[in-house]
Amino acid sequence: MTLELEQVEVRIPIGSGREVHALTEIDLVAVPGKPHFVVGGSGSGKSTLCSAVTGLLPGNARFSGTVKVGDLAAPALWGQRGRVIGVVPQSAMTCFTPVRRLGGQLAETVRYLGGERGPGELLDVVGLDRSALAKYPLELSGGMLQLAAIAAALAGDPPVVVADEPTSALDRQRSEDVVQLLAKLAADRVVLVATHDLAAVRSAAADADLSVMFASRIVETGTAGEVFDNPSADYTRDLLAALPENGLHPLPWPTPDLIDLPADYRYGG
């Protein structure tokens, strides 16, 4: 099963007739076998893209276009969250109840979604020791909790997993571990990962798919190797030049406000 987005647009009204252009003309295809990363600056639309796939857009957002997994399209698709689309949240620390042990929370999720794997098996899949089941979230490190959140996303054995900034609270080594795990999980399911952690993406497979977002649009798509080594979009080139190993060059052009963004706006003016 593949995840397909066609001409997806999201507008979020903010009053006085103004609106945030959160997603514009998004076309994306993610397939099983390799992860699909979505990278870009803060506010470029990565999280909104994840929300458009998972059905977690703000209540007043105006959505148009097509999001589908196989023959199941939104909004019916959104009703199958957990079973068709697993969601890995940005902050694992806040997605678990602090007053209950991890094992109980995972067991409840498996029960609700009718999953076939128990909590222990889910932890085996993500490489987390089963002793974590007896612990409260506060007794686990940020990296362990993020793995537990991925285990929870797999509880309903969904064919699609969407992770929104799963490494933003982790240090470099843990970030790379989480990205490697998500890449491994992509062997037999669609894995879509939004992140601004280019270093962690670089550590994953070079044949992973990569889409670069800027100002609500996808400006470039290719394999990670192609995009990192030979970027075609000006924005991608400047984003890579901002990395420490490339000299920490600030973007020469300002990042636009997405409120009432002109339809013909392009990077570089």
């Binding site: 240090d171 280019l198 920490l248």
Partner: protein
């Protein structure tokens, strides 16, 4: 010179770092790397006067600082969103730390690379990168001699990180001593004049 002599810092009575000897000269950027939980933030909180050391002393230009040295040492936190009052506009937040004589807004915003058009917005109306630059403007408004940067780019994308680092470098060129803490070794190596790391509960020169 901002100095630490035989400093011990930690949580409660538990020492995370001991026998810390540190000097940060005006205009110098000193990097500090180390794993999560190794005491980096605790050290910065002591150097900034927010908490007391378990042992040892902090000196500014050879003398112990006043009880509240915030005017001479400014701290920049990992999450600007948590360190800025959500009820205040960016301008009001910055004014809290500004000298009574007032603020030259154009000059301050230029130093912090902050668009003046953003000053009258609230934190929820700007991006993380813009808010971190407002936090830098707030720190610079008090004209501190030293900036303590605690994982200040951890939540930022590469472009915002590069822009924030450029403002920190400008502050150092203008004479501020900077202690730049991060667990991102490539970033610290690119930013700092010299780098220290946490080893065996103390600081040593990092081998990059």
């Amino acid at each position: 010179m901002l100095s630490a002599r035989s400093l011990a810092v930690g949580h409660g009575r538990t020492a995370l770092l001991t026998d810390v000897e540190l000097d940060v000269a005006p205009g110098e950027i000193v990097g500090l790397v180390g794993p999560s939980g190794s005491g980096k933030t605790s050290l910065l909180r002591v150097l900034s006067g927010l908490t007391r050391p378990l042992a040892g002393e902090v000196l500014i230009d050879g003398t112990p600082p006043p009880k509240r040295p915030q005017g001479r040492v400014a701290m920049l936190f990992q999450s600007a969103r948590r360190s800025c009052d959500p009820r205040l506009t960016l301008r009001q937040s910055i004014e809290l730390c500004a000298p009574k004589a007032g603020v030259d807004w154009d000059a301050l915003c230029a130093r912090a690379d902050l668009q003046t058009a953003l000053l009258d917005r609230h934190p929820h109306q700007v991006s993380d990168g813009q808010l971190q630059r407002a936090a830098i403007a707030r720190a610079l408004a008090g004209q501190p001699g030293y900036l303590l940067c605690d994982e200040m780019t951890a939540a930022l994308d590469p472009a915002a990180t590069a822009a924030v680092v450029a403002t920190v470098r400008r502050a150092a060129v203008d004479g501020a001593g900077v202690l730049f803490v991060s667990h991102d070794l490539p970033l610290v190596a690119a930013v700092a004049d010299r780098v220290l790391d946490v080893a065996e509960s103390s600081l040593r020169k990092a081998h990059l």
